[in-house]
Amino acid sequence: MTDASGLSRRGLIGSVGAGAALALAGSGALYASGREAARQPTGTTHPFYGVHQAGITTAAQDRLHFGAFDLNPSATREDLIGLLRDWTAAASRLTQGLGAGTFGPLSGPYDAPPDDTGEAIGLDPAGLTITFGFGPSLFAGPTGRDRFGIAARRPEALNRLPHFPGDALDLAASDGDVCVQACSNDPQVAVHAIRNLTRIAMGRASLRWSQLGFGRTSSTTSDQVTPRNLFGFKDGTANLRAEDTAGLDSHVWTAPGHDPKAGWLDGGSYLVARKIAMHIETWDRGSLREQETFIGRTKAEGAPLSGGTEFTAPDFALAGREGRPLVDPDSHLAMAHPDRNNGVRLLRRGYNYVDGSNTLGRLSAGLFFIAFVVDPRTHYIPMQTAMARSDLLQEYLRHVGSGLWAVPPGVAAGQFVGQALFS
């Protein structure tokens, strides 16, 4: 993309030493009078505009900064639209390695604060994607008031997730009017995105909570190696992948006509976020036998205990000694399997997290679970209800944060995210 007033981070390198930047970027840079014109930044970038928002089927990056925002009590419909417009513009730039504002971190009036905070100067965007979602409270505020004139277009499925057995939610780290998922292979780039979007929102919306994540716990494309979660096991082996377009159409993207009141969401999805604390200290004291039994897979390769290799389909009927199935029916593998869940599949995109340690000297660690699904009523709530009750792994888990957001479809150039909701 070209933006005559833009200033890329690589352009900034150029402003320090144009020759070096040229050599580094390997592409020609155009310089206008006293101000760098836009160049195509190099590095890994994903298109911001498209049929679907990026950051869903995009190959899962290694780092996350997830922000949940609340609109200010005084915010009007115009404020919300203006915010989405501004966020869209900033996200379209940031994801391409440009500054948050049109001047960038080192330009603009000398007596004005820079319109980009600057910590991403010289950094590769490292695959940055920014994905927006609308929470139930955006449609009906704390008092049930239709603050923005959109209550009639609230999707049927967009309700706060119910209380699941064992939930110990911190309400200050749950929910939010709007969510922003920023993923990048560089943590500083992801933080830079949320920081600048937060700044742009000031006066209209404020950050309710945010979460850093490291170490993706799912693969979203076929060529990605399955990573490990903090239990030390591969996670996301059976995940929906970008290449499985039929699976995505059935299980991730909302189809036209899915919800007559919410046609604006066609081509979108729902984002389920759960902050799942892990009792890792007690987990680490469990025998390998117990750990593998609870997961239902080998720790080494991630093969189902019924045999084979990582991607071998589990054989839940295969019985060993005393006629007991090799894969325990209450193992995490069995509980989460489509066979036990009316065939539903999720596109998981979670991250490990460690928020330092707590007062007992235990790591405040776990999984920040993110899943994109076509309908949480069929694709998350029944599964989580069953898992909270019976999953063997539940002994070592505690859900401490929760949120559900409707994720609008992708943005076309010249539009803003979620525009159809307001038209």
């Binding site: 057995p165 004291r285 025998s287 093969a303 019924s306 084979g308 295969l318 060993g320 000297g361 235990r362």
Partner: protein, 384 residues
Amino acid sequence: MKTPALLLTATLFALAGCTDNAPASTPGDLRALSVTASDSTCGLSAQTAPSGTLTFSVTNTGTTINEFYLLAADGLRIVAEVENIGPGLTRDLVLSAPAGSYVTACKPGMVGAGIRAPFVVSDSGEPVGPTGDDAALVAAADALYGAYVRDQAEQLLSGTQEFVAAYTAGKDDQARALYAPTRVHWERIETVAESFGDLDPKMDLREADLEEGQEWTGWHRLEKDLWPARAKGYQALKPAERATYAEDLLANTRLLVERTRTMSFSADAIANGAKGLLDEVATGKVTGEEEYWSRTDLWDFQANVDGARVAWEGLRDLLKRKNAALDTQIETAFTGLQALLDRHRSGDGFVTYDKLSPAEVKSLSDAVNTLSEPLSKLASAVLA
């Protein structure tokens, strides 16, 4: 994932690999054997090994479930075994083997005598744990622990009868006084009680563990009714409701007693039960979450520790034979934890959880870790 810590670890491993190849040529390697188990063959990388800790890494290359056994020279007594190896999977069998003649056997399909071959453990001259008739010691541990479980279950029943009588009669002070001392009997055998998946949720569920639409019954339902101070806008139970919940708890307790009468316990069940009780302390008691309304968490804490101690004591003779150092470590940790708990005694019981300072909670938590780490090795030690 590219965290600095992982990179650092990888670097350290790489360095170790470059600079120190010595262990690869030590006799330790002779004790690492591989077993390739197909549907019709049982291939061992060696037919002999020096005495000490042997590791058989068993890979099932066949199409059916396989097993691997190390049998005594008579071909009858099982020295060690690994079961339920799915096709394509590898599982390690680790055991401490004294010098002598043995028989190895793979058992594809889990049927028949298996594919057998002689195996010799030569005398390495290094000390190997003494062996003897473990069965008698396991039977003694089972008898001891089984008797303990039944005794505690019966005391729980008589205590519960007294408690619910006071509660249904509206004698709240008396019921409050009986609550923690009665629950102690539950907490001492909590891992056994929890093994009854139908009874535990009816008797010991916390309010947050309910699913939507599920009725809340059991101890904590009554606890909240007796200590409603932390409950916002709480509606006290009416006498008829009290009677219903009390009768339900009593009926389930009777069922529990009934079921424990015929239970028997293997060595690993007893050992894992001890570890499980300490896990309960770590996740529920030391954090003050178990007894949210009454704040009597330290009673439960002590009771879990009591139960773990009895389990360990029953296995001590076996453990001392297998791993005396571990036994000493566990003993020291129990003593340390008990000394710390004793500081918080008050009258016949303990101070309430809210009286503990954050530093006191932290030191209790640390003492639990000190005990839990060696205790988590108890099962593998007594099974070795």
